[in-house]
């Protein structure tokens, strides 16, 4: 692999993380919190360190697919490590693995927390947690690509390794312009949500936090009381959770007025799933005593569906108390996840489409052995390579799932807790059911289980392969 280039890119990441830390630094300054110095120093040190490392420009700038995977995996580990330091040093989360869990949960936009309560947590720390969602949502390397002219066409390997979905398409010919457009859409949508939340009467600090956390489909809340906001704000958040979980190509095509192409098979199925889930869950929960009426049931039902399908993980109500059908469907939605090319997690709607179509094709071939039939999506042939990689993804997903469950079961918690804890981390959602339900947290697990969940979150956000390849012995064999 290209070690010079790897170190160079890690140096850029370090410097950028320093820049990102200016956000909590500013927050601490505004609220006169004593962590101001900590964040200011960390930020300066990271910028300086990154600056020094990037002084040494590597001669060989060629990157191959393997380098792309490894650089992305290492970048995310490094980012999480630096991101965890403020929690650890300030004493907000004294234990290192806990701090790492919180940071990884932030960057991978999971939103699973080990904090028992947000009471007394400094505002700058809350801001840092939420802002990590925003950076992690679209991907930090994509961000760097949008800003810095990294040379050559090989950047596509980086983008591919960092972006969600089975096949990454470019919006425009150049990677850099594509990255820039993606961030532009991302930024505009975030600001739109922020403004609408302000109109709904949300305090500025909460509005920023919720907006960036929704944008990254993260799910850290910032109020000790959960989500004590007006129905208008709740509905705004619901809509934006759905929006951020849609494929960003959709918005690009809408802007370009290519409406027919915009409503792709994936988007249509995604909308169908939303409609189906809202209607059936509403019918299931409308008479529950926790709601004052059908209107409130609909609002919270839609919110919860948006939260779990988009892998955000906010909770307004304790959906663990809902009837079995709703809880089961919600767990299934967690697996489905968002669209490819969005900021959300999960298996992704387009993968399910490919899996389903390929399955029906195989059935047909079983009956008519000589029939030739290829998988098509939006009228386009799906490459055999993509189909293969989707199957490998699923196999890999199930295996990681099984091993994680086994390790977690050593903690002697119940099956539902373990099962949903892995669902919620591997799909970057946040809350699960039972002991990791919306009203509890992940501190119930032992350190070893937390490490496994950290791995699951990273694997889930980076679409399994980069992290798995980082750990595979064959990658490092000479």
């Amino acid at each position: 692999m290209n070690i010079g280039m790897t170190i160079y890119i890690l140096g850029i990441i370090t410097a950028f993380e320093g820049v990102f830390m200016l956000v909590p630094t500013a927050t601490a300054a505004v609220y006169h919190e004593k962590q101001l110095l900590l964040f200011a120093i960390m930020s300066l040190v990271l910028i300086a360190a990154g600056g020094i490392i990037t002084r040494f420009k590597p001669k060989n700038k060629t990157l191959f697919a393997k380098d792309g995977f490894l650089i992305v995996a290492l970048s995310w580990l490094l980012m999480s490590l630096f991101g965890a330091l403020p929690f650890c040093i300030s004493g907000t989360i004294p234990h290192f693995v806990d701090a790492m869990f919180e940071a990884v949960s932030g960057f991978t936009t999971t939103g699973a927390s080990i904090l028992h309560t947000l009471e007394g947590v400094p505002k700058c720390m809350l801001m840092w947690r939420s802002f990590m969602h925003w950076i992690g949502g679209m991907g930090v390397l994509v961000f760097i690509m949008a800003i810095l002219p990294l040379s050559g066409g090989q950047n596509m390997y980086l983008m591919k390794a960092e972006s969600p979905g089975p096949s990454v398409g470019k919006l425009v010919p150049r990677v850099r312009t594509t990255a820039f457009l993606l961030y532009a859409i991302y930024f505009v949508l975030t600001v739109a949500e922020f403004i609408l939340l302000l109109i709904g009467g949300m305090p500025v600090f909460d509005a920023i936090n919720i907006a960036v956390a929704t944008a990254g489909t993260g799910g850290f809340s910032c109020d000790p009381a959960g989500m004590p906001y007006s129905p208008f704000c709740i509905n705004v958040i619901t809509v934006f959770m759905f929006l951020f979980a849609a494929n960003f190509t959709f918005y690009f095509l809408l802007i370009r007025r290519r409406f027919k192409e915009a409503f792709s098979e994936e988007i249509r199925l995604y909308l169908g799933i939303i409609a189906f889930a809202i209607i059936t869950i509403f019918l299931d929960i409308r008479h529950l005593p926790m709601f004052s009426g059908a209107g409130e049931a609909l609002m919270h039902g839609a919110f919860t569906i948006g939260s779990l399908l988009s892998s955000t993980g906010f909770a307004t109500v304790d959906f663990d108390k809902w009837p079995a059908y709703s809880r089961t469907l919600l767990v299934m939605l967690m697996f489905v996840g968002a669209c490819a090319g969005s900021t959300g997690g999960g298996i992704k709607v387009s993968r399910l489409i490919i899996l389903f179509k390929n399955m029906t094709n195989e059935f047909r071939v079983m009956m008519h052995p000589r029939q030739v039939k290829r998988v098509k999506m939006d009228g386009q042939q799906v490459d055999g390579e993509v189909i293969r990689s989707v199957h490998v993804y699923l196999a890999c997903y199930i295996m990681i799932y099984a091993v994680s469950m086994l390790v977690l079961s050593l903690d002697h918690l119940d099956l539902t807790t373990n099962f949903t804890a892995v669902v919620a981390t591997l799909n970057n959602i946040g809350p699960g059911l039972n002991m990791v339900g919306p009203t509890s947290n992940y501190d119930v697990f032992t350190t070893s289980s937390k490490v496994v969940l950290i791995f699951d979150m990273l694997a889930g956000r980076l679409e399994l392969f980069p992290i798995v390849l980082l750990l595979a012995p064959s990658t490092w064999k000479k």
């Binding site: 050559g152 066409g153 090989q154 950047n155 596509m156 390997y157 470019k170 425009v172 010919p173 150049r174 990677v175 312009t177 042939q381 490459d383």
Partner: protein, 451 residues
């Protein structure tokens, strides 16, 4: 600019790479999806798998907003049709590659009638380059500027050259001739020559001069300056056909070796003054029978790069003449360079040079227009000819007072049919053609040279 390239073959890829480096948005179209994916991944361009003559495919590739479409698929007819459709669908400029000799006489008619911006025939361009080399065998490569009034010549210093003890500054006083040394390649590195640069054996040197001054220069440093008297050509493809036609009246006696009997018949019908031998070019006995050891020039133009290289290596061992090798496909440039094969012709680079030049000239410029462009050293140094059409910052002061970027050499100025090798006291004026050698690639306006 938005550029669509139809066809991801050798030339298509080179074009995608070079045009993308210069900041254009490229979309490549090819019927073979594997090839499209490979190209798109390697060069940061958008790839569309589909038929380039299909209107829908072109639409998808964004023909409506494209500035230029370049058709370089394997088939001439496809290329022409593709350009026609693109022109109707999007109104963009179009460039087609048309290589078959059956169209070569009608190129200007086709260009006019079909409204094409440019028609390229790489085989013909390659033949022209080979013809120049046969007329002046001491050079490795000859490019011309200002309608042939200025030549850029590349040659290699032998062990015992009188130049070896000199530095660049000594040339004018010691040899009394007006040439300008532009670049020197030594091993892997390339230099834009400054005054105190010392020559060493095996350096590959590029000079710029008027043709007659170049001749004197070569005479003084002990090179042969006569044109080749006879040439042996291995392979009877299209380049050979064009080459023989170009050299018909030059007095060089030509022998062509062609393996395929039908093709040999056709060649002998077309080319009455040329000896056609029907045999495998790799037949050593035949080569000796045709006096390869006494040939002034040996040109390998078979379809196999490997065969060309091998034949040239053999020829080098038996004869002292000029050896020219065509290489089409192989990419191991550094290895080929080590073989020390004398002159090498890369038709795909010739094509991409021509197109890149056109693309750069299309861009709006501030008063200077790009006319000609060559890569002197691949991917490192370019020579470009500009016409200064208006007064601008460049015309205000003598060269020594202009604050040029480093790595820029103003190599020649042509004014009123006279060529001037500029010194510091000379000033660029309106209407001049200026040749610049620089390692800042991707120039399209001379004002970009100012620091």
């Amino acid at each position: 600019m938005n550029i669509i390239i139809v066809g991801c073959g050798k030339v298509g890829r080179v074009l995608a790479e070079r045009l993308n480096e210069q900041g254009n948005s490229i979309t490549v179209v090819d019927i073979n999806s594997v090839r499209v994916n490979e190209t798109a991944e390697r060069y940061d361009v958008m790839g569309i798998a589909g038929d380039g003559v299909n209107h829908k495919t072109l639409e998808e590739a964004g023909v409506a907003k494209a500035d230029l479409l370049i058709a370089v698929t394997g088939s001439d007819e496809r290329n022409l049709l593709c350009c026609l459709i693109a022109k109707k669908a999007g109104g963009c400029q179009t460039i087609a590659r048309v290589r078959s000799p059956q169209y070569s006489d009608e190129i200007s008619y086709l260009k006019e009638e079909l409204g094409l911006a440019m028609v390229i025939n790489p085989e013909f361009a390659a033949a022209e380059e080979i013809a120049r080399l046969l007329r002046f065998p001491s050079a490795l490569k000859i490019d011309t500027f200002v309608k042939g009034r200025v030549e850029l010549l590349k040659f290699k210093l032998p062990e015992d050259s009188p130049l070896c003890d000199m530095c660049v500054r000594d040339i004018a006083p010691k040899l009394h001739c007006d040439v300008l040394v532009c670049t020197v390649e030594r091993g892997e590195s390339a230099y834009i020559a400054s005054g105190d640069f010392h020559f060493a054996p095996h350096d590959v040197i590029s000079i710029i001069a008027e043709p007659k001054n170049a001749l004197t220069f070569f005479k003084k440093i002990g090179y042969k300056v006569k044109s080749a008297n006879n040439a042996l050509i291995a392979g009877g493809g299209d380049i050979t056909l064009y080459l023989c036609k170009l050299l018909e009246k030059s007095g060089i006696s030509l022998t062509v070796i062609e393996k395929d009997s039908a093709r040999a018949d056709l060649l002998s019908d077309e080319l009455s003054d040329v000896n056609i031998i029907h045999d495998d070019a790799a037949n050593q006995e035949m080569l000796l029978r045709e006096d390869i050891d006494r040939a002034d020039a040996f040109v390998t133009l078979t379809n196999l790069d490997e065969e060309n290289i091998l034949l040239s290596l053999y020829a080098k061992s038996v004869c002292n003449g000029k050896i020219i090798t065509k290489i089409n496909r192989i990419e191991f440039d550094s290895v080929i360079e080590h073989l020390d094969l004398d002159a090498i012709i890369y038709p795909k680079n010739i094509t991409s040079d021509l197109i890149v030049r056109y693309v750069r000239a299309m861009k709006k410029t501030l008063g200077t227009n790009l006319e000609t462009l060559y890569q002197i050293i691949k991917g490192k140094v370019e020579a470009a000819e500009f016409i200064v059409q208006e007064e601008c910052a460049l015309t205000e002061a003598p060269l020594s007072q202009l604050r040029l970027k480093s790595g820029v050499l103003v190599a020649a100025i042509s004014r009123d049919r006279k060529v001037l090798i500029p010194r510091g006291s000379d000033t660029i004026r309106r209407g001049d053609s200026v040749v610049v050698v620089t390692n800042h690639l991707g120039l399209h306006d001379m004002n970009d040279l100012l620091a």
